[in-house]
Symmetry: C4
Subunit: 231 residues, 4 copies
């Protein structure tokens, strides 16, 4: 019970951009985009030395700030843990992004992501990543951590794909391996599952996630029309 | 007239989660998802010893709490019957789910459901059920009544399909037969018609219905791209 | 100027179901369904001895009650004619429906309607009507004027198709011919153009239009998947 | 700092149709249509001797009037330049339309536009423009600057396509060349990128953009169904 009095101050704010409010607003929007259907997906924001995380198993479009988990980033211990909820199984995956400098991480079950992972496997093999080039929206993705600016129109976007596992937390190792192998990527696709997208801050994570989802949707439609992804 | 004075107390409440309010809010959302177009589909909630049911033939996105029918679950007699409406023909089907422990039952005319029933018939025959495996969203479906937890990623989701009939209430017998044959299922597809999905409570019925609809949509798109549903 | 003082009483009402308000609310909804994009489409309601008609060339989702034209049904003369607008070229087509007893008529440019007219022409010839059977949503369409009840699940839905003309008002003759040839129909498709749907009142016209659009969308998707419309 | 006090009067107004307010409302609508995903796309309005332009790199559905750039049309110098934003790289392209008499110019990344440019290239070659005929919605497009009325149903709609470049401003020359070669066009497609649509005023630009996007979406679906665009 101490939890509900001591720690509410961490999630109650009049500022719509406070992470506890912001996650709720983002997830309501993501629901209308089909990204977080049926309690799937999630969103996490780093705010100074704290990590705010949407809980597991809740209707993402109906969340309230008091539903949020809050973790101390340094110690990785929860400083707020709503007793009616389970922490998100995505937490170690979000932390992998935060450890590499991200300020926000979004996980979606977008059907375009799932379909692209299936198409890549069938057409290019299990070890292939998703590759596309010469689509304007590619310019919405940064060139890579520590690099200046965004990808150019003539540059190829590559998003690694990892195999799904029975338990979401077991994705951590292969997610981190993909991050090491593709140090410039801001996204990792998970076969038959969805995608993780992160960015330096909420604005970047959200707009990069939109740009990538746009590209994945376009890629599926290109396949249906017999149009190649690369030249 | 007695009806409109004696029984309004059953449907008037300030609580947005009161079943009479909740059904209205859910159906407005389901309308935007294309599930209850043109008065199609319906929703019913069990609340203690009472069943709340959306009426037949109304625009589902415009319903008001006073439109609701209320039935006594034990006696199966209406304790509230709005005189301007007809009771839903889905009522015996909803009751079949409530009898098996459901707390909420949703019926949609989702086009993805209709298309999947046609694809299964063409590709696997009239006796086949819909089967898919290794899709993350499968984890949104419980393993079965009396069993612990949800289906795993590597487990196969099976949803039985029954043949449509001229009159909706005539589906009851085959729906109940499918429930007996597939005791673990929380959904039954109706060929060329739609789907019934239920759950232990409103939260579960709604999120399971979303997860299944997501999987059905994905399955249709997989077919269009030549991707198999099972290995 | 007399118009704007004398006749505003015809369109100003606190009742959301007053035709001048109702047309605005319906068209805003139809815009989100893609039915009245780019000033296309229209809606008209008969209210006693008056016909209310949305104007031509306006953004249908932004209309206000004062934008409405009002016509005396007996004399076919306008009793309200907003000087900043042009009357709808659909007016004679709406009148054809009202003359046959309709209480509301909806015209959409739904892409599903356009695609179905093209598919019917290619696969069944220019003289064929659209035919489909054994789809539950068919039960949302009445059996015909003067007949009791709606179509049954095992009955075939037939919607005639007329050829488009350079000027919308020139469709009147062939629309009326189709109404004579198919006296039971509540809808006429217009090749490469859209559809007219009417009903005894607003509720019926709106829900029948939704049911038909649902069926047309399903029919297009069935074609893409190689599924036949009839047995 | 002078900027934020001297020039706020240019963007603060109670009139929802003031360009600074209107651009925000339009872009929020365009976001729901998928036209300005992930900071892509943009909108500009000419208002007397001033040009109002949405900034680069912002979430288009969240813009506020104070985010707007304002340029003096005669001198092409900014009279308002929010210090936290970058001016839109589309600016010279918008100016090309304004110079030819436009009152509003809209740039979208619509996926239908991108797919049509790919289909035209594959099926008709790199020099071909997009051509379609006998679709009712064509009547939503004016016949050409200085000409009376809109295209007729039996007239062919032609939209030129230019090749994309690494930097958006480098499109200006080929956009202007396309405007010269197709003096009647109100739109130019950009391969693998999107479309620019303009009109005499906001109403016309918005409804023409909707009509064209409708036609492009229909064209993609026609291709998927094997239906030709012209006779």
């Amino acid at each position: 019970m101490a939890e509900s009095t001591d720690t509410d101050a961490l999630v109650l704010s009049d500022d719509p951009l406070h992470p506890a409010n912001h996650i709720c607003e983002l997830c309501a929007k993501f629901y209308t985009l089909g990204w977080v259907t049926g309690t799937g997906g999630g969103t996490s924001i780093r705010h100074g030395d704290k990590i705010y995380i949407a809980p597991s198993g809740v209707q993402k479009e109906l969340m309230r700030p008091t539903d949020m988990f809050v973790m101390d980033f340094a110690s990785k211990s929860y400083v707020r843990k709503p007793q009616t909820h389970k922490p998100s199984a995505c937490t170690p995956l979000f932390l992998a992004a935060f450890t590499r400098g991200a300020g926000c991480c979004i996980h979606t079950h977008s059907q375009w992501a799932v379909l692209v992972t299936l198409l890549v496997e069938r057409d290019f093999g299990k070890d292939a990543c998703f590759e596309i080039e010469e689509i304007e929206q590619i310019k919405g993705i940064p060139r890579g951590r520590g690099k200046t600016g965004n990808l150019g129109y003539f540059e190829r976007l590559r998003i690694p794909i990892i195999e799904n596992t029975a338990h979401e937390e077991d994705l951590t190792e292969s997610l981190e391996a993909a991050m090491e192998k593709y140090p410039d990527t801001y996204a990792v696709l998970v076969r038959r599952h969805g995608i993780y997208v992160w960015g330096d801050n909420v604005h970047k994570a959200k707009t990069q996630c939109e740009s990538i989802d746009y590209i994945l949707q376009l890629a599926v439609q290109m396949k249906q029309l017999g149009l190649p992804w690369t030249k």
